[in-house]
């Protein structure tokens, strides 16, 4: 009996859309490749001068050259080594101290103001100091990266420990679980999401500091390579260096994403 419907009847307008991000495939790569292609076209046409931006194809050629000469690895391996050692030291110390601040009122009262005072210091400014303390070799570079990773990790970790559901801790106590069991089985797993998202930030900072550390007294390393290129105004090499850092950042982020999926598979 659809004909019998009142002519003034009309469907209710839909107004519930949007505000729900959904993954859209391929758009990311298309934007990326499109942008590079656009720069290529504009530089070839001479609209962008070679002083402003290098041709992407030249950057690629420089990269291939770097790779074939074997120099890529002699720059990349020391950098990755510095990043891994420095970030591992800083993150371990940061998580340990963050958990202590979260658990012990005395540690919290003593160290939270100190961490707040250290946090805003640009760690790069301390590089000369670290060179005097730890020597111009690897140790000062590890120290700078470790120190830079340390502060954001501490802050993220104690925040994460504070956010662990108190009712779960009370449950642990009500079953007479030992203090150590409560920390290991309730507090640490509960703080894990916050610690991991803190690590994302800390490791990005570590990559920034890697370059800074290699600007002083390093012959090899991505930072040294970029610095050299910069002082010669060799834009192709500068961009090769910057792209490598970018790829390093994406790799680190992917690794953390994989760890999150593995450790936090209980979340949804």
């Amino acid at each position: 009996m659809r004909e019998a419907v009142d002519p003034s009847a009309k469907p209710v307008a839909f107004r519930g859309g949007g505000f729900a991000p959904t993954p859209v495939r391929l758009v990311g790569p298309v934007v990326f490749i499109g942008l590079i292609a656009l720069i290529e076209v504009l530089t070839r046409a001479g609209i962008i001068t070679s002083l402003t931006l290098p041709k992407p194809s030249d950057v690629w050629a420089t990269f291939v050259e770097l790779w074939q000469s074997g120099l890529l690895w002699s720059h990349l391996i020391p950098s990755i080594n510095r990043l891994l050692v420095g970030a591992a030291l800083g993150a371990t110390a940061g998580i340990a101290l963050g958990v202590m601040i979260g658990l012990f009122s005395l540690v919290r009262a003593g160290l939270v103001p100190l961490v707040a005072a250290i946090f805003p210091i640009p760690k790069i400014a301390l590089l000369p100091l670290f060179v005097i303390w730890f020597g111009i070799d690897e140790a000062s570079k590890y120290a700078l990266i470790a120190f830079g990773t340390f502060t954001p990790t501490v802050v993220a970790t104690y925040g994460a420990v504070d956010n662990v559901d108190r009712s779960l801790i009370r449950m642990g106590q009500s079953f007479s679980m030992s203090w150590w069991s409560i920390v290991r089985k309730i507090v640490l797993p509960g703080a894990m999401p916050g610690i991991l998202s803190g690590l994302r930030v800390s490791l990005a900072i570590a990559i920034i500091l890697l370059v800074a550390a290699e600007m002083l007294g390093a012959e090899y390393g991505i930072g040294a390579y970029i610095l050299q290129a910069g002082s010669l105004y060799d834009l192709e090499r500068l961009f090769v260096g910057v792209s490598i850092l970018s790829i390093l950042g994406v790799t680190v982020s992917t690794v953390i994403g994989a760890i999150e999926r593995r450790l936090l598979n209980w979340r949804s």
């Binding site: 449950m171 106590q173 009500s174 079953f175 679980m177």
Partner: protein
């Protein structure tokens, strides 16, 4: 093991939450505690289980808990308090791990309590995959696993919808009939109280004092919905609580 509350009073800062509570909790019986909101029911439960210290008075344990009891005073919480990163089995084993049991021993216990709470098929499920009623059954299984002398239940069914609540009440009755346990059961739901309580303690509004203790003599298994005596008991309880609840409500408005 019996429990005795002697002259229990408690205050938070200047707010007196309960005053002069004397109560016996005999072994093998379910004692329900009802009262208007803010009368200190949950505080009382935390005092009984040693999660908080009373300002004055004491909670006495009369007689030793059975030797096989791993955690004599065991809570069941309103919000279930399950670890979301552990499976059903893992949540039960959590509370056994500190007791130095062998793998086979704790496996036996886990299997047994999961059978008793009808959860055997969900051993490997994570809490997020379970409904509210199932989550509370896991929490009850976890409590049974440590063989408590007294179960301290803090509004265990209040977070559930009314159908699930009915089902779980039947389950609790069945569990009690199989093996009589001692329980202190805090609730604001009078229907639950008359269904599960051997005696029902009515508290006044803050500061909580015992107004009356109502005994229900019908055996747990014979209490049916709509039973005339139970209805009358519930009416009586409501009569006791009504004015207190109204006064408590007004108090909150003036606060």
């Amino acid at each position: 093991m019996d429990l005795r509350l002697e002259g229990l009073s408690h205050h938070y800062g200047t707010t007196e939450v309960m005053r002069g509570i004397n109560l016996d909790i005999p072994a093998g019986r379910i004692v329900c505690i009802v009262g208007p909101s803010g009368c200190g029911k949950s505080t009382m439960l935390r005092l009984i289980g040693g999660l908080e210290q009373p300002s004055t008075g004491q909670v006495l344990q009369i007689g030793d808990p059975p030797a096989e009891s791993l955690n004599p005073l065991t809570y069941v919480f309103q919000d279930f308090a399950l670890l979301p990163w552990r499976t059903v089995e893992g949540n039960v084993s959590l509370v056994l791990e500190d007791h130095g049991l062998s793998v086979t021993q704790s496996n036996e216990i886990i299997t047994d309590v999961l059978v008793r709470t009808k959860l055997s098929d969900f051993r490997k499920a994570l809490p997020r995959q379970l409904s509210g009623g199932m989550k509370q059954r896991v929490a009850i299984a976890r409590a049974l696993a440590v063989r408590p002398a007294v179960m301290l239940m803090d509004e265990p069914l209040s977070a559930l919808d009314s159908q699930t609540r009915e089902l779980l009440m039947d389950d609790l009755v069945a569990l009690w009939q199989r093996e009589a346990f001692t329980a202190v059961y805090v609730t604001h739901n009078l229907a639950e109280a008359v269904r599960l309580g051997h005696s029902i303690v009515v508290l006044s509004r803050r500061p909580g004092q015992i107004r009356e203790i109502v005994d229900v003599t019908i055996p747990l298994g014979e209490r049916k919905m709509g039973d005339a005596i139970l209805e009358r008991t519930q009416q009586h309880l409501w009569g006791l609580m009504r004015d207190e609840a109204m006064a408590a409500d007004q108090e909150l408005l003036h606060a």
